[in-house]
């Protein structure tokens, strides 16, 4: 077809149109920031940074907020959400640490040791695990693991902390486990891809120098993919921090700060995270004080996900020195 009936779009016009469409995303993000901060403004203006501290029970404050009238006093905005921040950091941190160890080991297994048949089945397995919706993990948590842990915790252990908090199953251990299972497949997939993209001559060179295959992988391949590992950790942490459903279903429902010095009981103490608080109290959004408080929490989450991306980028920078530029 050498003749064209319609005049084709000029490149300039196409570039502008496509570019405008692509910028929609950037515009959307800016809009999001604006709206979230706007909704959070009352809380920020009334509380300032003390909002991040700890001022007693979050639950009772939120409960009080649900009943505020249209013109609330400044004191109604008072809340200290440190327990939520602590809960988020605790659950996400432990989950990512666990998932990283498992993902590294599993990736090395897939790339180096798995027999071909096993390797072929593992790819769809990992992909399936990554695709399971979070509400299903939450369901496993609330219907299986929570009663199980409730059964596990002895009466004596419950009594030992009864003056502060009621243990009713669920808590740190269950949430960390579920979160870890949720984020492991993503990390495994990323690290496996990175390992497989390491040029073969490097590993072969290491073996030819007399290293056994595992040492060769650890000393050369894993070292070479450090930026990818950092990226995977960043991604997984963002996912773990933002996960609201699993936490709200399996964390025990009280915004408490689990105390590591409590020993074994620590693993069964309930907590809340920032994200789960939003979900739990979503139906109370009509109350203005609660409204702005929840938006403030959302703004905090947004800010932390930005910081996470930035941190991952910064950590990767010095690692670039030894890479082939790509």
């Amino acid at each position: 077809m050498l003749d064209r009936i319609r005049r084709p779009w000029s490149d300039r016009r196409a570039e502008l149109v496509l570019g405008a469409a692509a910028c929609l995303l950037a515009i959307g993000i800016v809009t999001m920031i604006v709206f979230v901060v706007r909704g959070a403004w009352p809380t920020f203006s009334h509380d300032g940074f003390s909002w991040l501290g700890s001022h007693g029970s979050v639950d009772s404050r939120i409960g009080a907020m649900q009943n505020t009238s249209a013109n609330p006093a400044a004191s109604a905005y008072q809340i200290g959400i440190w327990p939520l921040i602590y809960g988020t950091l605790l659950s996400a941190g432990l989950a990512v640490a666990l998932a990283l160890a498992v993902a590294l080991a599993a990736s090395i297994f897939i790339v180096d040791f798995a027999p071909p048949a096993v390797r072929r089945t593992m790819t769809p397995v990992i992909r399936l695990l990554a695709a399971v919706p979070s509400v299903l993990y939450g369901l496993i948590g609330v219907l299986l693991l929570v009663p199980f842990t409730n059964h596990l915790v002895t009466q004596q252990q419950k009594a030992s902390v009864a003056y502060v908090i009621q243990l009713s199953g669920g808590g740190v251990a269950v949430v960390v486990l579920l979160l870890a299972v949720m984020i492991t497949p993503i990390m495994t997939a990323l690290i496996t891809d990175a390992l497989e993209s390491v040029p073969r001559p490097w590993r072969e060179g290491a073996i030819a120098l007399g290293l056994n295959p595992l040492r060769a992988t650890l000393a050369v391949s894993v070292r070479a993919i450090r930026p990818a590992i950092v990226g995977a950790v960043g991604l997984a942490t963002a996912r773990a921090i933002g996960e609201a459903i699993v936490v709200s279903m399996a964390s025990g429902g009280a915004s408490f700060s689990p105390n590591p010095t409590d020993g074994v009981v620590f693993w069964f103490e309930p907590f809340e995270t920032a994200a789960s608080t939003i979900v739990r109290n979503a139906d109370g959004l009509s109350a203005p004080v609660l409204h702005s408080t929840l938006y403030a929490i959302a703004a905090l989450l947004l800010f932390s996900s930005f910081m996470l991306s930035l941190a991952a980028y910064l950590v990767k920078l010095p690692l670039r020195r030894y890479q082939v530029s790509n």
Binding site: W9, V36, G39, L128, A131, S134, N212, A298, L308
Partner: protein
């Protein structure tokens, strides 16, 4: 002086073949052996975990899953555990999936095409790429809350329905728009990787025939990455139908699909309802209902959908056709 050491006449019977003694595992250092064992354990363990999850939902779910559940509507009966099905949530999931993908797929593809094929000025291209990364990293609750704030504005009333102080803000349309954000990164990344992977010769050949860049993209490059786009879209669809937080916040809490006034289709989209995910959440002890068997049944069905989508992704990868450099009539 070396004598000529030439080979004998090639005779290959019976060579005493050995594969050589492999490096004995026990000669490795203890630390290496431990890591080796750990690698095997986690590898197999992961497979077992998946098997356990699938089996759990298969058995418990299909205990309760009956065909009529699929095709009957939820009913507000006193005995929640025995009554009603989840046809409405299924409808909701389907609608949300279609809506979300209809927005995410074109947007993701266009963005990827612009970044890879054009991408000028450079700073703008980097901003756009960062924007996609930011979207990928934003928790879905934050997206949901943003959606709420946005669509409660009066000007967006057509998307849901009016209420005092602006709009109600919760409807299939609003949640569809927001939920597309969780699929955009998948489509974008898959398309971008596909575009980068197509060989330069493909485009150069088209330019050599006198085609403009945009025509090249439309006729040559995009068809070459069809498979990647499909993969990305399917992955994105999986994430859409699995999302719960956005649905909970942005779709209202009605069990059954409520249509708004207006034309049939638009009314449906402007109304509220539920999806499988919110249905599961609400029927679990965390939600208001306590009908775990219905939750299991719906969960089994949802898992089945996800499995199908995943299998679809695998199939798309396999039936991609011959490699690019072997086929393709270029031009015209």
């Amino acid at each position: 002086m070396a004598q000529s050491e030439s080979a004998q006449a090639p005779q290959l019977l019976p060579p005493r073949r050995s594969r050589g003694r492999r490096s004995s595992l026990f000669s490795w250092r203890a630390r290496d052996q431990a890591v080796f064992a750990l690698a095997w354990i986690t590898g197999i363990g992961l497979c077992l975990v998946v098997a356990a999850i699938v089996l759990l939902f298969a058995t418990k779910g299909f205990d309760y899953l009956r065909p009529d559940l699929l095709f009957s509507r939820p009913s507000a009966a006193v005995n929640q555990a025995q009554s009603g099905g989840f046809l409405d949530p299924i409808e909701g999931t389907v609608m949300l999936g279609i809506l979300g993908l209809a927005i995410a797929a074109p947007l993701g593809v266009i963005t990827a095409v612009w970044v890879v094929e054009y991408g000028r000025p450079r700073w703008l291209s980097r901003i756009v790429e960062s924007a996609v990364e930011v979207i990928a990293g934003t928790p879905d609750v934050v997206l949901a809350i943003f959606g709420l704030a946005l669509f409660e504005l009066g000007i967006f009333a057509p998307l849901s329905f009016s209420s005092p102080g602006g709009a109600f803000g919760r409807s299939f349309l609003t949640s569809g728009i927001i939920v597309s954000a969780v699929a955009i990164p998948s489509v974008y990344t898959a398309t971008r990787n596909g575009l980068i992977a197509t060989p330069r010769q493909l485009r150069e050949a088209s330019y050599a025939l006198g085609k403009t860049r945009i025509a090249t993209i439309r006729r040559v490059v995009l068809p070459a990455v069809r498979r990647d786009i499909a993969t990305g879209a399917t992955l994105g669809l999986g994430r859409i139908i699995g999302d719960t937080a956005i649905v909970i916040l942005l779709l209202g809490a009605t069990l059954r699909t409520q249509t708004e006034s207006g034309t049939p289709l638009l009314g449906l989209l402007r109304g509220t309802g539920s999806t499988l995910t919110s249905y599961i959440y609400n029927n679990s002890p965390s939600g208001e209902g306590n009908a775990p068997n219905k939750a299991y049944a719906a969960a089994a069905f949802l898992l089945l959908l996800i499995l199908l989508l995943n299998w679809g992704v695998g199939r798309i990868g396999r039936i991609g056709g011959p490699p690019i450099h072997e086929e393709r009539r270029l031009g015209a």
